[in-house]
């Protein structure tokens, strides 16, 4: 038996979330001695693939055939099922990313393997598996037992420490017998480049309606810049068109789990919290002492954002140069 991890890449670079998924698999492997095998689809060179071995993947199955470049969930599911069979895998791990969410449930049906999605922590038990997962938008956690022989899981960002456990690796270029035969034709790909991806950022700076208008985002952008942070916003801010929809976090936007989240001029509505409650540490800056955000935050500053931000930027600069 083996553990399979589906590794994702972006322009040839393996995503941080996929490294976490491999680290997660390696924890399981330490418990049940099953080898960790990673699958990579796309144009990723061997040096980059070797990074997966740093986190414990001893075998990497790489599909670089250009027919497989575009993601089609139906075809990818068949491809992964073929490898699961070949490698007699019983645990298949995905990131809880757009791609993971698109493929893992299909694979669960194809393999009759119980699905635990939105997993937040290492397994609570291994035989049978019991996983702790998010439910009710983070207002509760569910413990889920897997009753089937095989299982498929999707893990949330930041649910596993990126601990290195290097192994020697065997990278094979694989030609599947499954045909790509994509029913979906990708006409155009529009990548956001140069920016820190919100879903990958370990620090996120986020602004709400309290900042009053799009013209007032300069200090927030500067704070993000000095911290090397991603930028986010509350829903009304993107609805008003002050910021791009890409930045909207919350129950109806992106769901993120950075180490550190700054909520500036955000009241802390429950639907907003639904998207950020996985953050390790929340800092609130708000001028209303009764704002609900303070009951979710670990640290708070009561004050006017336009006074606090310039000072905070200076403090960060001082800290970074020290």
């Amino acid at each position: 038996m083996s553990i399979i991890v589906f590794s994702e890449n972006r322009i040839g670079k393996i995503k941080k979330q996929s490294l976490e998924a491999v680290a997660y698999a390696t924890y399981i492997s330490k418990n049940n001695s099953k080898p960790v095998i990673a699958i990579s689809v796309g144009n990723v060179n061997n040096d980059e693939l070797a990074v997966l071995a740093k986190y414990g993947a001893s075998k990497i199955i790489s599909i670089t055939d250009s027919n497989w470049q575009n993601h089609d969930s139906q075809a990818y599911t068949k491809l992964i099922a073929e490898i699961v069979e070949k490698e007699s895998a019983d645990t298949i791990i995905f990131s809880h990313s757009n791609m993971g969410k698109a493929i893992a449930p299909r694979l669960s049906v194809r393999l009759k393997a119980g699905l635990a999605s939105n997993v937040l922590a290492l397994p609570l038990s291994y035989s049978p598996y019991v996983f702790k997962r998010k439910s009710y938008n983070g207002n509760a956690f569910q413990q889920m037992k897997i009753k089937s022989q095989k299982c498929v899981i999707t893990i949330n960002p930041n649910s596993c420490d990126l601990v290195e456990s290097p192994v020697s690796v065997n990278i094979t270029d694989f030609t599947p017998t499954t045909v790509a035969n994509a029913a979906t034709k990708v006409e155009n790909i529009d990548l956001i480049t140069g920016k820190i991806l919100l879903t990958e950022a370990s620090v996120v700076v986020s602004g709400g309606r309290g900042l009053k208008s799009s013209d007032n985002w300069k200090p927030l952008e500067e704070l993000a810049e000095v911290l090397g942070a991603g930028l986010a916003c509350s829903r009304p801010v993107s609805d008003e068109g002050w910021r791009s929809h890409e930045e909207h976090v919350g129950q109806t936007g992106k769901i993120i789990a950075p180490d550190l989240y700054f909520a500036v001029g955000i009241s802390g509505a429950i639907q907003h919290i639904g998207g950020i409650s996985g953050s390790k540490v929340i800092v609130a800056i708000n001028k209303d002492k009764d704002a609900p955000i303070f009951s979710y935050a670990n640290y708070g500053i009561l004050g006017d954002a336009f006074d606090v931000l310039p000072k905070l930027i200076e403090s960060v600069k001082k800290f970074k140069s020290a």
Binding site: S73, Q74, P105, S108, Y136, Q143, K145, I146, I189, T252
Partner: protein, 249 residues
């Protein structure tokens, strides 16, 4: 052509979540039930597409897997504008079960386009749509943020982490939709509410399926220590705490 919108019946998003004394089941006392927010957007977009299709799309149906207490939510979907509804009379216990039940109805009725929301706000599984597509052996496109239907040709945009892809696809397929698909969800108008009373809801019994998972228990988040307040003048102190105490910088 026919569109099916899969619709979850979920607690209003401001509900304070509580469980029974064994922490096994949601305490439903006093809960307001609503259409899962994404599914409301899916329904709105489906109706817009139908109206613009010049008759190409004959009807928009909704389906819910749930007990009779879900009917007010189903009526609301009919009042918003769905033409008819299906309900499989069963406890919606898990995604695999729900998807298997929807697949049975979808196979019989031959829908061309099936729309699901990306995630239910109770189970947070992000699974039913893709599972359904696999049961039906249909292609599926997830994280759809734009849905255009021109003369029978479908063009979708999907979010990939850090960008967007434009996709063309032919029917039948499953679209799993999210933010962006339409601007605002439609709300029922008086006329719609009146008309909804006479629209048909077809109720059927569930089929047997495998049971692959089991909820052992729910937990509530640990109550958090009080927020540590830092003086607005002393931002150095905040950085020191984030570095030294919280260890996140």
């Amino acid at each position: 052509m026919k569109i099916l919108v899969c619709m979850g019946n979920v607690p209003d998003t401001t509900t304070k979540i509580k469980f029974d004394s064994e922490m096994k089941k949601l305490d439903t006392n006093g809960i307001q039930w609503v259409i899962n927010p994404w599914d409301e957007l899916a329904l709105t977009r489906a109706l817009e597409i139908k109206e613009q299709s010049g008759g190409k799309i004959e009807k928009v149906s909704v389906i819910n897997i749930g007990k009779a207490d879900a009917e007010p939510t189903i009526r609301k979907a009919l009042a918003i504008g769905a033409d008819d509804a299906y309900r499989v009379d069963a406890e919606p216990s898990d995604s695999y079960y729900i998807a298997a039940q929807i697949a049975e109805v979808a196979k019989k009725e031959n829908f061309d386009i099936i729309m699901c929301g990306i995630e239910s706000s109770d189970f947070n599984d992000a699974a039913v749509g893709s599972m359904l597509a696999e049961f039906l052996d249909y292609p599926s496109v997830s994280a759809v943020s734009s849905f255009e239907f021109n003369d029978g040709n479908v063009k979708l945009k999907r979010d990939i982490d850090g960008g967007k892809e434009t996709i063309v696809i032919s029917t039948p397929f499953v679209a799993i939709v999210q933010k962006g698909i339409c601007i605002n969800p439609r709300i029922p108008a008086m006329r719609g509410i009146m008309m909804a009373r006479t629209k048909p809801i077809t109720v059927s019994a569930p089929v047997e399926t495998d049971s692959l998972i089991e909820t052992t228990i729910f937990e509530l988040p640990a109550s958090k220590a009080a927020c540590k307040m830092v003086d607005a003048e002393d931002t150095d102190k905040l950085i020191e705490l984030l570095h030294g105490e919280a260890k996140v910088l």
